[in-house]
Protein backbone atom coordinates (compact mmCIF):
# COMPACT_ATOMS: atom_id res chain seq x y z
CA UNK A 1 0.00 0.00 0.00
CA UNK A 2 1.10 3.54 -0.59
CA UNK A 3 2.61 5.45 2.29
CA UNK A 4 4.21 8.84 2.92
CA UNK A 5 6.61 9.23 5.80
CA UNK A 6 7.79 12.49 7.28
CA UNK A 7 10.19 11.41 9.99
CA UNK A 8 10.38 14.74 11.80
CA UNK A 9 7.32 16.02 13.65
CA UNK A 10 9.18 19.17 14.67
CA UNK A 11 12.08 21.01 13.06
CA UNK A 12 13.63 24.15 14.45
CA UNK A 13 16.26 26.25 12.69
CA UNK A 14 17.63 29.75 12.93
CA UNK A 15 16.92 32.45 10.40
CA UNK A 16 19.39 32.29 7.54
CA UNK A 17 20.24 28.64 8.11
CA UNK A 18 19.54 25.97 5.50
CA UNK A 19 16.49 23.83 6.06
CA UNK A 20 15.54 20.40 4.77
CA UNK A 21 12.21 18.75 5.47
CA UNK A 22 12.36 15.06 4.76
CA UNK A 23 9.77 13.03 2.93
CA UNK A 24 9.94 9.38 1.90
CA UNK A 25 7.28 7.46 0.06
CA UNK A 26 6.39 3.92 -0.84
CA UNK A 27 4.39 3.31 -3.98
CA UNK A 28 4.68 0.70 -6.67
CA UNK A 29 3.51 2.95 -9.48
CA UNK A 30 4.84 6.14 -11.00
CA UNK A 31 4.69 8.71 -8.19
CA UNK A 32 3.41 12.23 -8.35
CA UNK A 33 4.47 14.19 -5.29
CA UNK A 34 3.53 17.49 -3.74
CA UNK A 35 4.34 19.69 -0.79
CA UNK A 36 1.45 21.49 0.92
CA UNK A 37 1.93 24.18 3.57
CA UNK A 38 -0.31 25.54 6.29
CA UNK A 39 0.71 28.84 7.86
CA UNK A 40 -0.70 29.80 11.23
CA UNK A 41 -4.42 30.56 11.00
CA UNK A 42 -4.42 30.05 7.24
CA UNK A 43 -5.70 27.34 4.95
CA UNK A 44 -3.73 24.43 3.69
CA UNK A 45 -2.32 25.35 0.29
CA UNK A 46 -0.17 23.82 -2.40
CA UNK A 47 3.47 24.85 -2.20
CA UNK A 48 5.00 22.92 -5.06
CA UNK A 49 4.68 19.89 -7.29
CA UNK A 50 7.56 17.69 -8.39
CA UNK A 51 6.63 17.72 -12.07
CA UNK A 52 6.86 21.49 -12.31
CA UNK A 53 10.43 21.49 -10.96
CA UNK A 54 10.07 25.11 -9.94
CA UNK A 55 11.19 27.07 -6.91
CA UNK A 56 8.44 28.57 -4.81
CA UNK A 57 9.31 31.04 -2.03
CA UNK A 58 12.88 29.81 -2.35
CA UNK A 59 11.90 26.19 -1.72
CA UNK A 60 12.81 23.35 -4.06
CA UNK A 61 12.18 19.64 -3.94
CA UNK A 62 13.69 16.94 -6.13
CA UNK A 63 12.14 13.55 -6.64
CA UNK A 64 14.71 10.83 -6.07
CA UNK A 65 13.20 7.58 -7.26
CA UNK A 66 16.19 5.54 -6.17
CA UNK A 67 15.84 6.69 -2.59
CA UNK A 68 12.05 7.14 -2.86
CA UNK A 69 12.42 10.59 -1.41
CA UNK A 70 11.07 14.06 -2.08
CA UNK A 71 12.81 16.28 0.44
CA UNK A 72 11.96 19.98 0.62
CA UNK A 73 14.91 22.34 0.82
CA UNK A 74 15.64 26.01 1.23
CA UNK A 75 19.16 27.42 1.49
CA UNK A 76 18.32 30.33 3.79
CA UNK A 77 15.28 30.00 6.04
CA UNK A 78 13.15 33.03 6.88
CA UNK A 79 10.91 33.57 9.88
CA UNK A 80 7.86 33.66 7.62
CA UNK A 81 8.62 30.08 6.58
CA UNK A 82 7.43 28.89 9.97
CA UNK A 83 4.47 26.63 9.23
CA UNK A 84 3.26 23.05 9.07
CA UNK A 85 4.46 21.26 5.96
CA UNK A 86 2.82 18.16 4.50
CA UNK A 87 4.23 15.91 1.83
CA UNK A 88 1.59 14.23 -0.34
CA UNK A 89 1.55 11.42 -2.88
CA UNK A 90 -1.04 11.32 -5.65
CA UNK A 91 -1.95 7.73 -6.45
CA UNK A 92 -4.83 8.20 -8.83
CA UNK A 93 -6.17 11.12 -10.73
CA UNK A 94 -7.56 12.49 -7.50
CA UNK A 95 -6.59 10.71 -4.30
CA UNK A 96 -3.82 12.22 -2.19
CA UNK A 97 -2.05 10.36 0.59
CA UNK A 98 -0.52 12.78 3.07
CA UNK A 99 2.30 12.40 5.51
CA UNK A 100 1.76 13.35 9.13
CA UNK A 101 3.42 16.71 8.67
CA UNK A 102 6.46 18.56 9.98
CA UNK A 103 6.11 21.72 12.03
CA UNK A 104 8.91 24.06 11.02
CA UNK A 105 9.91 26.86 13.35
CA UNK A 106 12.39 29.45 12.16
CA UNK A 107 13.85 31.33 15.09
CA UNK A 108 15.12 34.92 14.81
Amino acid sequence: AQRVTQPEKLLSVFKGAPVELKCNYSYSGSPELFWYVQYSRQRLQLLLRHISRESIKGFTADLNKGETSFHLKKPFAQEEDSAMYYCALRISNYKLTFGKGTLLTVNP
Binding site: R43, Y86, A88, Y94, K95, L96, K100, G101
Partner: protein
Protein backbone atom coordinates in the same frame (compact mmCIF):
# COMPACT_ATOMS: atom_id res chain seq x y z
CA UNK B 1 -12.85 35.00 -6.04
CA UNK B 2 -14.51 33.11 -3.23
CA UNK B 3 -12.69 30.09 -1.99
CA UNK B 4 -13.99 26.92 -0.41
CA UNK B 5 -16.16 27.69 2.59
CA UNK B 6 -17.10 25.43 5.47
CA UNK B 7 -19.59 25.75 8.29
CA UNK B 8 -19.64 25.77 11.18
CA UNK B 9 -16.07 26.77 11.95
CA UNK B 10 -16.32 25.16 15.36
CA UNK B 11 -18.70 22.55 16.71
CA UNK B 12 -18.87 21.17 20.22
CA UNK B 13 -21.20 18.26 20.71
CA UNK B 14 -21.94 15.65 23.30
CA UNK B 15 -20.99 12.05 22.77
CA UNK B 16 -23.76 10.17 21.05
CA UNK B 17 -25.22 13.15 19.20
CA UNK B 18 -25.29 13.48 15.42
CA UNK B 19 -23.51 16.34 13.64
CA UNK B 20 -23.61 17.77 10.13
CA UNK B 21 -20.70 19.62 8.57
CA UNK B 22 -21.17 21.66 5.43
CA UNK B 23 -18.86 22.46 2.54
CA UNK B 24 -19.36 24.94 -0.30
CA UNK B 25 -16.80 24.29 -3.05
CA UNK B 26 -15.38 26.82 -5.47
CA UNK B 27 -17.89 27.52 -8.21
CA UNK B 28 -17.20 25.35 -11.24
CA UNK B 29 -15.16 22.77 -9.36
CA UNK B 30 -16.67 19.38 -10.02
CA UNK B 31 -14.40 17.44 -7.65
CA UNK B 32 -14.92 17.63 -3.89
CA UNK B 33 -12.96 15.93 -1.12
CA UNK B 34 -13.32 15.49 2.61
CA UNK B 35 -10.32 14.93 4.89
CA UNK B 36 -9.87 14.56 8.61
CA UNK B 37 -6.94 16.24 10.33
CA UNK B 38 -6.18 14.77 13.72
CA UNK B 39 -3.39 15.79 16.04
CA UNK B 40 -0.29 13.87 15.10
CA UNK B 41 -2.07 11.93 12.36
CA UNK B 42 -1.79 14.25 9.40
CA UNK B 43 -4.58 14.38 6.86
CA UNK B 44 -6.73 11.32 6.37
CA UNK B 45 -8.76 10.98 3.16
CA UNK B 46 -12.44 10.35 3.83
CA UNK B 47 -14.48 10.63 0.65
CA UNK B 48 -14.34 11.98 -2.91
CA UNK B 49 -17.10 13.21 -5.20
CA UNK B 50 -16.70 13.81 -8.93
CA UNK B 51 -19.64 15.12 -10.86
CA UNK B 52 -22.43 12.55 -11.08
CA UNK B 53 -20.13 9.57 -10.60
CA UNK B 54 -20.46 7.29 -7.61
CA UNK B 55 -18.38 8.72 -4.76
CA UNK B 56 -15.22 7.04 -3.50
CA UNK B 57 -16.11 6.31 0.12
CA UNK B 58 -13.07 4.15 0.81
CA UNK B 59 -11.71 6.45 3.50
CA UNK B 60 -14.78 6.66 5.72
CA UNK B 61 -13.71 5.14 9.06
CA UNK B 62 -17.05 3.59 10.02
CA UNK B 63 -20.67 3.38 8.99
CA UNK B 64 -21.41 6.24 11.37
CA UNK B 65 -19.88 8.52 8.73
CA UNK B 66 -21.73 9.47 5.57
CA UNK B 67 -21.63 12.27 3.05
CA UNK B 68 -23.73 13.55 0.26
CA UNK B 69 -23.39 16.15 -2.41
CA UNK B 70 -26.53 17.76 -3.67
CA UNK B 71 -26.78 19.21 -7.14
CA UNK B 72 -23.09 18.67 -7.74
CA UNK B 73 -22.20 21.55 -5.45
CA UNK B 74 -22.69 21.74 -1.67
CA UNK B 75 -21.67 18.73 0.37
CA UNK B 76 -22.65 17.62 3.85
CA UNK B 77 -20.62 15.25 6.00
CA UNK B 78 -22.73 13.60 8.68
CA UNK B 79 -21.38 11.81 11.71
CA UNK B 80 -23.93 9.82 13.67
CA UNK B 81 -23.62 8.87 17.33
CA UNK B 82 -20.40 10.85 17.71
CA UNK B 83 -17.56 9.42 19.75
CA UNK B 84 -14.68 11.23 21.42
CA UNK B 85 -12.26 9.84 18.86
CA UNK B 86 -14.19 11.74 16.18
CA UNK B 87 -12.78 14.99 17.57
CA UNK B 88 -10.66 16.49 14.81
CA UNK B 89 -10.57 19.19 12.17
CA UNK B 90 -12.60 18.20 9.13
CA UNK B 91 -11.29 19.73 5.92
CA UNK B 92 -13.06 20.04 2.62
CA UNK B 93 -11.28 20.66 -0.67
CA UNK B 94 -12.35 21.11 -4.26
CA UNK B 95 -10.69 21.02 -7.64
CA UNK B 96 -11.37 21.01 -11.32
CA UNK B 97 -11.91 17.51 -12.67
CA UNK B 98 -8.58 15.72 -12.96
CA UNK B 99 -6.64 18.77 -11.81
CA UNK B 100 -3.83 18.07 -9.40
CA UNK B 101 -4.33 21.17 -7.26
CA UNK B 102 -6.85 20.88 -4.47
CA UNK B 103 -8.11 24.06 -2.82
CA UNK B 104 -8.85 23.68 0.84
CA UNK B 105 -11.44 25.27 3.06
CA UNK B 106 -10.72 26.61 6.54
CA UNK B 107 -12.01 23.47 8.21
CA UNK B 108 -14.52 22.66 10.92
CA UNK B 109 -13.09 21.90 14.32
CA UNK B 110 -15.25 19.21 15.93
CA UNK B 111 -14.98 18.55 19.65
CA UNK B 112 -16.93 15.67 21.14
CA UNK B 113 -17.28 15.89 24.91
Amino acid sequence: GAGVSQSPSNKVTEKGKDVELRCDPISGHTALYWYRQSLGQGLEFLIYFQGNSAPDKSGLPSDRFSAERTGGSVSTLTIQRTQQEDSAVYLCASSLAGDYEQYFGPGTRLTVT
